[in-house]
């Protein structure tokens, strides 16, 4: 049986040599006996296995990208760079951003990184005048225990749906049972209607875009990225905010709803209650404290 220290020194040097590196220190070089494995079957086996392990990894690395993925990534390019070379980092607009505030936020990468997930606006309209009936479907859809037919997305209790735009912005919906109708889902327009039930939503991408959500008689503007709306057209609805800040505008007035609050409102928009909401105790959210960011 070889000396374990000699085996370790040999393997360290062998691993480095395998990578085209030289032993990092003079001490390591001195301890390295290149002929060690002629006397040590275990290290000989180790050398053999290094080669066995490397081959599939290298083969995979040299594979070209799958065609559809390559196209998806190149569509991010077609959507255009978000910052032009002559723009300063502080003033550069996002091509897709309809408002200066979003561009301003996008120009602060630390803030973006700090929130981790970006900014989301949900507008809930009293009426849908002027909306296009033309369905503009997501570029890709991932469904688990969920169905999507004729623009109607139904998500079961343990299901989830990930809707992606052509440029790769993904909205994850889960926490059903619930149903929404997708009127539009593109990089310039996201228009949803919550028909019934309960759903949680979160943008997976760092560059979320504003979108509208119609659900009855209220106008809701949400700033944040994790929220849940339980909508019952004929009864009480519940809006819970895990991250960010929500402005709820009902026929009875405007109500700020910060993170970790839950509000109940009736189908005619009357406020019923505002109370503390603890997403940490809610298995649907699975948040850690550092994930909750109130974004004013």
């Amino acid at each position: 049986m070889s000396d374990p220290a000699a085996c370790q020194a040999f393997r360290l040097a062998l691993s480095a040599e395998f990578d085209g590196e030289v032993p990092a220190t003079a001490g390591a070089a001195a301890a390295y006996d290149p002929a060690h494995d002629t006397k040590c079957p275990a290290c000989r086996a180790f050398r053999h296995d290094l080669e066995r392990l490397r081959r599939p990894l290298r083969e995979a690395r040299d594979q070209p990208l799958p065609g559809p993925l390559r196209e998806r990534l190149r569509q991010v390019a077609v959507a255009g760079p978000r910052r032009r070379s002559h723009d300063s980092p502080q003033t550069a607009p996002l091509d897709h951003a309809p408002g200066g505030w979003l561009a301003a936020l996008a120009a602060r990468p630390l803030l973006m990184a700090g929130t981790g997930v970006g900014l989301l606006i949900v507008l809930l309209f009293l009426a849908v005048h002027g909306r296009s009936d033309r369905p503009m479907a997501p570029a890709s859809v991932h469904l688990r225990q969920a169905t999507l037919a004729h623009g109607v997305l139904t998500i079961d209790t343990d299901g989830e749906a990930i809707l992606s735009t052509a440029a790769g912005r993904s909205l994850r919906l889960w926490g059903g049972p619930g149903q929404i109708t997708i009127a539009a889902f593109t990089d310039t327009e996201v228009d949803l209607r919550q028909d019934r039930g309960r759903l949680c939503a979160r943008w997976s991408s760092r560059s979320p875009i504003p979108f509208r959500l119609q659900a009855g008689l209220c106008h809701i503007e949400v700033r944040g990225t994790v929220w849940r709306l339980a909508f019952d057209p004929g009864n009480e609805s519940i809006l819970e905010v895990a991250e960010g800040q929500v402005l709820l505008v009902t026929p009875t007035g405007r109500h700020d709803v910060p993170a970790l609050r839950r509000v109940r409102f009736s189908s005619d928009g009357a406020m019923i209650a505002s109370e503390a909401f603890n997403p940490f105790a809610d298995p649907q959210f699975q948040l850690s404290p550092d994930q909750v960011v109130v974004d004013h």
Binding site: G20, A24, A45, L65, R70, L73, R83, R84
Partner: protein, 183 residues
């Protein structure tokens, strides 16, 4: 090193085009770096769909921050690799928060025969599964070496550790991976 320099040169050129508003700039970066980044993220995350999402986020971030990268200050490829690493780690954290961490193989219950060698033709899926059991601090430098073809010095720079530490971490990753594959 010559190949690495050529890659860096081409990446700088493509990024310059991207910053000038030419969408072909990103298309070239996708072709240049996409395959190795996908391999890196796939091995890191162990799941193709997550790896593709993380790769897409990598290029979206690259677009958003292209104007902030100064090739005279740091390497373009290093900057992109760092974005990919961060996206991969973020995806892992998100997956953990959402309770969909991948099942990892259990640690070896007893040491395998040290002299036995891996005889069968190894499938990539087996390696991916085994890699998920390698601690992330070791997995990242190991994959930067195997998938991104970075030198120890480059890995040390990107992961904020010494070259000696990188050498040691890569060896430990290899030893663990070997044990998990054999078990």
């Amino acid at each position: 090193m010559e190949t690495t320099d050529k890659l860096e040169q081409e990446a700088q050129d493509a990024l310059r085009h991207l910053r000038q508003g030419d969408p072909q700039g990103l298309a070239r970066l996708v072709d240049l770096l996409g395959p190795r980044l996908l391999a890196f993220l796939q091995r890191l995350l162990g799941q193709a769909s997550d790896a593709e999402d993380a790769l897409q986020e990598t290029f979206a971030t690259l677009c958003a921050k292209a104007g902030q990268q100064n090739p005279e200050v740091g390497s373009v490829t290093g900057w992109i690799y760092r974005i990919a690493r961060n996206q991969g780690l973020q995806m892992l954290r998100r997956r953990q928060a959402e309770g969909r961490a991948l099942a990892t193989p259990p640690p070896c219950s007893e040491p395998a025969d040290p002299e036995a060698i891996i005889e069968q033709h190894l499938q990539l899926e087996e390696i991916d599964r085994a890699l998920q059991a390698v601690p992330i601090d070791l997995r990242v430098p190991f994959l930067m070496r195997e998938c991104l073809d970075l030198s120890y010095a480059q890995i040390a720079h990107l992961t904020d550790r010494s070259v000696n530490q990188v050498a040691s971490d890569i060896l430990r990753a290899r030893q663990l991976l070997r044990e998990y594959v054999r078990s």
